[in-house]
């Protein structure tokens, strides 16, 4: 197999490797191959997951020049520094926890590398020119997912409206009643907003409503709260 049978010269290395790869093993038992494959699989999957988690770190996210502006803005917010010492880093808000959504987000994030390379937002002027568009992309994602990433930490179920500020409690109650989602009110929670952002946000919502992309049913926690309140009323 290692030599060309016609002229006796060694064959193409790629061809030889291909043939070796597909030749049935004569020295290994099925159990050996299974156990070795299982261990190899664990090592591969562990390494894959570990690498994926490395791309979730703040250091990784902000290692690009273009991320300096939003990093500086984020560092002035309550999600960076607060009385409780709990920090939400980039991936907490921008990377879903669920496997299928996380992988999709990671693959889509390749566009960030592309824009870093071509310098789409490499200067403050360019950044400001694109600020509204970048925000609109994130708003659209959050509105579509019912602010899924916010709800990894914040949940109506865990909120005690009685110890919230009066205005916050009233607005959260309104959000429950009107089936609103976090991003409907909390735009700019971690980054500065572009001028005219409210009109832009309205455009995003209207576009989603026009395409019937928005969920019509309340989220599970909202439905559970409504059910609980209805039981209390009875």
């Amino acid at each position: 197999m290692a030599e060309n049978s016609e002229n006796g010269k060694p064959g193409n290395p790629i061809r030889r490797a291909w043939n070796w790869f597909w030749t049935p093993t004569a020295v290994l038992s099925a159990g050996f191959v299974l156990i070795a494959g299982f261990l190899g699989g664990i090592m591969f999957w562990g390494g894959f997951h570990w690498t994926l988690e490395l791309t979730n770190t703040e250091e990784f996210c902000t290692s690009c020049h273009t991320m300096e502006t939003n990093l500086a803005e984020y560092r002035t917010t309550i999600h960076y520094s607060n009385h409780s010492g709990v920090r939400a880093i980039c991936s907490d808000c921008h990377v879903p926890h669920e496997w299928q959504h996380k992988l999709k987000a990671k693959i889509m994030a390749v566009k960030d590398v592309y824009h870093e390379v071509v310098g789409t937002i490499s200067t403050p002027e360019k950044y400001e020119a694109h600020r509204g568009d970048m925000a609109a992309v994130v708003w659209r994602k959050m509105k579509l997912s019912d602010s899924r990433e916010c709800r990894n930490c914040h949940n109506f179920k865990y909120m005690d409206f009685t110890i919230q500020e009066t205005r916050a409690a009233a607005e959260h109650q309104r959000a429950l009643d009107e089936n609103l989602t976090c991003i409907d009110c909390h735009q700019g929670i971690a980054h500065d907003l572009a001028p005219g952002y409210q009109e832009r946000y309205r455009e995003v919502v209207e576009e989603l409503q026009a395409s019937n992309a928005l969920p019509v049913a309340p989220s599970e926690d909202v439905a559970a709260i409504r059910s609980y309140v209805a039981d209390l009323a009875e």
Partner: protein, 88 residues
């Protein structure tokens, strides 16, 4: 309308999820191409419903189609591996 980036992300996510991995494994368990494709497609459909919490209203048709297609392709590749790499 799904964007190109959305499409690529959905396909990639499915390749590294149930349809891609389990589909490939199921395909490697048979030499029958039709059975392999059917099992892969079924995994894709099942995964979409599983991740939607078995709520029909939350199932996006485009996600369902992509998951089923990835499942069929992965299980077909698995079946090809069975043909090429096994004598039984």
């Amino acid at each position: 309308m799904i964007g190109i980036l959305d499409l690529l992300g959905t396909v990639g996510g499915n390749i590294l999820s149930f349809p891609g991995i389990l589909g490939l494994a199921l395909g490697m368990m048979t030499r029958n191409w039709i059975l392999a494709a059917a099992m892969g497609g079924a995994v894709g459909v099942a995964e979409t419903f599983l991740f939607a919490g078995f709520k029909l209203a939350e199932v996006q048709m485009i996600d369902l189609a992509i998951a089923a297609l990835v499942g069929v392709l992965a299980s077909s590749v698995g079946c090809a591996i069975r043909h090429k790499g096994a004598t039984v």
